[in-house]
Symmetry: D2
Subunit: 185 residues, 4 copies
């Protein structure tokens, strides 16, 4: 059974909802999910996990500074000692969707993924065949677009949370698989 | 009066329409626009221009290979000899918007922008205060999303072309300004 | 036993050497490697593979247009029908290293990785604990820097090829693992 | 005379040295430079500037969290009200260079540039013809690589600071030019 750590920051609750949907997906696949705000997560949490998901709202085209502080403070310590090599990694985000072109979510996700790659984590993409992709999909992970084009709030709908749940379930399976099969020599 | 070269590839016509809207914007600001398909544009076209715009549909999360062939064939020759340093540069794109999160347009635009930066071009962003941004905006340039979430075609609407026209007009002004004021020592 | 497809373009032979080193690594881990130039690789090659590696020289901050043509022509066909979901993916590159800061290799690798993510491939990072990383490492994959700071050629040294071999071996193991364990529901 | 704001974070002093070299370049071109640590810079500093440079060490493939906190706290406020549209922007970084492939500096710079683009700043590239490029150059801005391949510290040498000075001088000229010529309608 895979232990999945889900670390996030959230301002108005959309990223938190995405994090909780990922956790539901993890559990649906038989895993255990620990959902923690970025300011509370620790190095021990990272080490205890078989898979790690990072999530953030999009702020000025990048992740929330609290997620980056977690990365600089705790992930870098794990990197120094190669503590997480070969585990499973994934990202997710929420945002306003202003402009109708992602609003910077791609660089936001890549900013989190680069940290996961530095740590030696095997990265889970979001496949377009999954339920919910049409409303919540980027190849790098599920994106909960919570506003209309005009920036009026619309909240997350269930198909967006469905994509997050699918990503969580796949992450649990990938983490379990990697735990039982050594990939890195 | 600034000469602007607009190089693009297009499959079904959306990127072409964006290119033509940029050209209208250039002309509205008193500039001259030369619109060329990637396979027809040459090194001489680059050298003759005061400003350069590159546009592409999003294919598998990146620019159309014909635009990249133009870059590898002609831009690299200009790079070798520093022929374009200090001119103005901009990008634009079109895409399906499948997934509702940009569909890879951000890396597509960055893939074109990295070439412009290598050439020493000063890069024009798309400011969110411009008309049309809500429907066609990414900070890196105008994005003509031509499909609905379910991939059914919807075409470009006028607010998307409005963003492209604004970008063209701003590019003409930036190119004119840079032509008259030496920035690079 | 995993079948690994290695698709590349090469101008002066450095990327080819990296591709061949990856293939050696694949074989050392018990896999079978098919090394093909981008212009010769086909959709059937993709479908027959359990893992796929893409490699390119860095040209103007992005991948060689021939690799992109392969992506647009053949990977997009696989994407349409979800033919490659859940397989293993990896990237590698070579470049001049001019400027001493990667010379655009990161966006080059991300340009290939975005295609692999769109296809639903699970992505292998290059962990810093692997042999050769200090001379050939980026978290996204091995990088064969073949020139000195002043652009004079120096060729690839064995520690760079060592990193490529390690990446190939890990890719074979990841592909084998994913073949035997279904991650995507 | 252009006022340039230079905002940075630094751990061991390399990014600070780069910031100071940029400031020297600004002054050499007749501009005024205000160099501020990220935790001290304010919205008023941004508004008072004609040009803005952001600099950071590379931490886990991205900018220092203190720079991101500055962006989230102060740049986002300027973005809301379009306060900085049409000014000049630039980035710089320092890092270990571990792996010999940039070590994540490209995404680090793009993470800062996306914020500048969102703000509507015209972006200055680092042209390869400038002095110091061979040792300190990435197209997105000067990079002070302060370590050898084996991670042993080597400090910044003068050609790296020369690239930073050139970037500062060019930024001052670009900011002055844009101040006197309205680009954005």
């Amino acid at each position: 059974m895979a232990n999945i750590l889900i670390v996030f920051a959230s301002d108005y609750g959309s990223t938190r909802k995405m994090a909780e949907a990922l956790a539901e997906g993890v559990q649906s696949a038989g895993g255990t999910a620990l959902v923690k705000e970025a300011e509370a997560a620790t190095l021990d949490d990272l080490v205890a996990a078989d898979g790690i998901a990072l999530g953030s709202p999009v702020h000025m085209g990048g992740m929330d500074w609290r997620v980056k502080k977690f990365i600089d403070s705790h992930c870098s310590a794990a990197w120094m000692k190669n503590l997480l090599v070969g585990k499973a990694g994934a990202v997710f985000a929420s945002g306003s969707g202003f402009g109708n072109g992602g609003g910077g979510v791609e660089l936001t996700m890549l900013g989190m993924l680069t940290n996961l790659a530095e740590l030696g984590l095997v990265i889970l993409p979001l496949s377009k065949h999954l339920g919910g992709y049409a409303k919540a999909g980027l190849q790098w992970g599920p994106y909960g677009r919570a506003h209309n084009e005009d920036l009026s709030p619309k909240g997350l709908d269930d198909s967006q949370l469905e994509a997050a749940r699918a990503h969580g379930a796949n992450l649990a399976r990938l983490a379990e698989t990697l735990k039982n099969n050594k990939v890195f020599a």
